[in-house]
């Protein structure tokens, strides 16, 4: 895995030297902060009527009312932002013909693929970590539960991992970055909404579709639960996408 890290380090240098990272991170933080503070504002408004709500049997908590919806919204923003981060992975290498340097080096293809995935994943993690200032802000205001925050962030990271792996795979299909970004967004969105068809489908198919939905697995993480099936789903999703990426790149050499 030494080679994967060398490749990831090079890509990270390229990310942090280019304006794309700073523009994307700024846009991500502005949109996320806007949503977060709106949710917080709504929470404050609701808190004023807390007595009334408690009388109605409703429970007000920072975790349920602020953190959970904020992370849910963050996962939607990531759906739109991640394709811009991953689109360069292989498409740019192929376009500028630098991929030949990697192919002529004594590095197995799987390490190249993992290196590309790792670089994008680190960039996304940095963005998510910066956005966690909001949680620090909440700790200043109140006493949110730490457990669901940790599992929530783990869920968001795993979900982001799925988008990143799809992005790296899409980038291996073309040498056009825009095409790669559109494919990533389209497929990720499809995996988001696939569960919507569950109601219309039969009971068994419905269950399968529900299980395939990326967002369904996130819900339990946000509620503080770490279910093995959710972990297996996300990790399998990531591994399958990276495997497909590997196969595409390998088959390119034969064609």
């Amino acid at each position: 895995m030494r080679n994967a890290w060398i490749i990831a380090k090079r890509d990270l240098g390229s990310f942090f030297n280019s304006p794309i990272f700073y523009v994307v991170t700024t846009v991500f933080l502005i949109i996320y902060s806007f949503i977060f503070f709106n949710i917080l504002n709504f929470f404050s408004f609701q808190s004023l009527q807390a007595g009334q709500l408690q009388a109605m049997g409703m429970n007000l908590g920072l975790n349920e009312m602020v953190i959970e919806p904020s992370l849910q919204n963050m996962s939607v923003i990531l759906l739109m932002i991640i394709p811009i981060i991953t689109m360069r992975s292989f498409a740019d290498e192929k376009k500028t013909k630098t991929f030949r340097l990697l192919l002529s080096s004594p590095v197995p293809l799987r390490e190249i693929v993992f290196g590309k995935f790792l670089a994008c994943m680190i960039v996304v993690t940095v963005m998510i970590l910066i956005s966690s200032y909001s949680i620090g802000f909440l700790f200043l205001l109140g006493e949110p539960e730490l457990g669901p925050i940790v599992t929530g962030y783990l869920g968001v990271l795993l979900m982001a991992g799925c988008y990143v792996s799809v992005g790296v795979f899409a980038s291996s299909l073309t040498d056009n970055q825009i095409v790669a970004a559109i494919l990533t967004f389209g497929f990720s969105l499809f995996m988001w909404v696939i569960g919507w068809a569950a109601q219309a489908a039969g009971p068994t198919t419905g269950q399968v579709l529900q299980f395939l939905s990326v967002v369904d697995h996130l819900d339990r993480f946000l509620k503080g639960m770490v279910d093995t099936s959710d972990l297996v789903y996300y990790l399998s999703f990531i591994l399958l996408s990276l495997f497909l990426c590997h196969r595409v790149l390998d088959s390119n050499r034969w064609r």
């Binding site: 080679n3 240098g13 340097l101 990697l102 080096s105």
Partner: protein, 311 residues
């Protein structure tokens, strides 16, 4: 050292190379010569372990380029036609990266990069961003990445393409220096390049080998006549007629500035005859010079004659 047997590669239904067979010995400098699209780059890609062949085998030091590709890549340095450069990196960072992915570690990496910077005369630009360098320097950086791990074999695909004449001379000099310690395979469609650098030529045309030999060998095997150049001061219409009247002269072609290209039968030794004729007729003899067959002649003869035979 390199053994290629019946190597064939298809891109979809198109056959890029067909049944190539040749050997290259250790320390040899061999030129792949052929027009664009002849199959030179495909052959080089297979030898660099980037592409698998559709059929046939390519072995380097006894190892198959497909089955043992990871091991072989450690001893091969490859410069593709377009140098694989990251324009946003500095020369030094890029070479460090190239060295690391070639398996160099720790202090080894730093000293290898310093050595290759020195060898390729990149010291002045080592901190500059690659994207802002001239084409000549970029080509040098491309060559440096191919050499950074001190490979036994260098595969250089059109290393001087797109360079200005001064840059071409510089790169050629560099390759000539490397020739003493490496096995080099060089492709080009610029013929003088091959003549100057390579000991042996493999001429590829339409995916097939048209000839494999030293330049002298190719010239000798194809030569059916010899050529002379005659230059005089006072040219007139009579000269061509009089030269043609000599028995063993096959043809006379007027060239530039009172020069005549004369094709004679092999071993006819007509220089004395031409000199006498020039003096007798007061043509004002300037020079009589035997012309050797150029690689252009060899190449055209091989590729065009083949087509004629096929037709």
């Amino acid at each position: 050292m390199i053994e290629v047997e019946n190597l064939t590669k298809y891109y979809g239904p198109r056959k890029a190379i067909n049944n190539l067979t040749f050997q290259i010995a250790q320390g040899e400098v061999v030129g792949f010569l052929g027009p664009n699209g002849a199959g030179k780059s495909t052959t080089m890609n297979i030898l660099s372990c980037i592409l698998p062949a559709s059929s046939g085998t390519a072995r380097i030091k006894g190892y198959d380029t497909f089955e043992h590709s990871i091991e072989l890549r450690k001893i091969i340095g490859y410069l593709p036609e377009t140098p694989p450069l990251y324009p946003d990196m500095s020369v030094r960072d890029y070479l460090m990266f190239a060295a690391q992915i070639r398996g160099l570690t720790g202090k080894q990496t730093g000293s290898a990069v310093e050595a290759v910077i020195e060898k390729c005369s990149l010291k002045n630009v080592s901190h500059r961003i690659i994207g802002r360098l001239s084409k000549g320097y970029q080509q040098r950086v491309g060559l440096a990445q191919a050499m950074v791990h001190d490979p036994d074999i260098l595969i250089l695909d059109e290393p001087t393409i797109g360079l200005d004449p001064i840059q071409i001379i510089e790169i050629r000099k560099l390759i000539q220096q490397l020739a003493s310690s490496h096995t080099i395979i060089l492709s080009s469609h610029i013929l003088p390049e091959i003549t100057q650098i390579c000991q042996r030529v493999i001429i590829i045309n339409e995916g097939e080998i048209a000839a494999v030999d030293s330049l002298e060998g190719l010239t000798a095997s194809l030569r059916k006549s010899e050529r002379l150049s005659l230059t005089v001061r006072n040219a007139n219409d009579d000269i061509e007629k009089k030269l043609n009247s000599i028995n063993q002269v096959l043809s006379v072609l007027p060239g530039e500035k009172n020069q005549f290209l004369i094709e004679c039968a092999l071993n006819s030794n007509l220089q004395d005859e031409f000199a006498r004729l020039a003096l007798d007729n007061q043509w004002g003899l300037v020079e009589i010079k035997p012309l050797s067959m150029t690689l252009e002649d060899v190449f055209l003869k091989l590729t065009i004659e083949e087509k004629d035979v096929e037709a």
